[in-house]
Symmetry: C2
């Protein structure tokens, strides 16, 4: 038995709870994702933002915040950090909005990130056959929109 496993005599009264297993599974995947992204120098949230800008060039940071459920106030340091590293640049839309675009370096890094994420995803998807994986994704989308 590995060193940090719980003692066998302690059974888990939360084992059948969807919310609990969701949280534990999410935590495992997030940790693995952070590890997979390590060599890109990106945190998961930063990689996500790059992928959103890649797929919707010209979007604003408020758009991204709404899509990823990140509050406007918390988008500020994230976007500033990516801009400081010259991964993205901003172009004024009107007096208050700024359109966001990937720089060449940002495009290259987004590409690396997408590869790392795909490998990470595949490692977990391979636990299931395609039907189960697809049902799982559907179920998660339903939970997400049920709240």
């Amino acid at each position: 038995m590995a060193k940090n496993d719980p003692p066998a005599e302690l059974q888990d009264p939360l084992d059948d709870l969807l919310g609990y297993q969701l949280r534990r599974a999410s935590s495992v995947m997030m940790a693995d994702l952070a590890n997979s992204l390590r060599e890109t120098g990106l945190r998961p949230v930063e990689a996500s933002i790059l992928l959103v800008i890649e797929s919707s060039p010209g979007c604003t940071q408020s758009d991204i915040g709404r899509l990823l459920a990140i509050k406007r106030a918390n988008m500020v340091p994230l976007i500033a950090g990516l801009a400081r590293r010259d991964l993205i640049y901003r172009a004024p839309v009107d007096g208050r909005s700024q359109a966001l675009f990937l720089s060449p370096a940002g495009e290259a890094l987004a590409c690396d990130a997408r590869r790392a994420i795909d490998t990470h995803e595949q490692g977990f998807r391979s636990l299931f056959d395609e039907t189960i994986a697809s049902q799982l994704l559907d179920a998660l989308r339903q939970i997400r929109t049920h709240g």
Copy 2:
């Protein structure tokens, strides 16, 4: 369209990612659970600890930490808070370990918490038929142990 929905023109490049949907779904369920537990005065992590002690009276806080993946250092204020509210009490096992038990008030509150959690769970489980719910739980357990 609700006020905080993302703009329709912005499609989500993360929509097919298991890790992303897992995180979003987990966040929705955690928020709903916190809300369901509000009248008990317990946070989700505190309710979880009470249920573990209820199901394994005499366990130590280190046992609980291993079971719930909470670091020993972070267990200290959690257990202290429950003890201060007289929901649990400690009995020395040996010079370094303390066995944990629910007080009568703790038993009553654990009961309330279990009811609130069950109602909360049922609200989400009712999104799926039993077969899907069971497959979902199995998949989440597999992800959890794959890390």
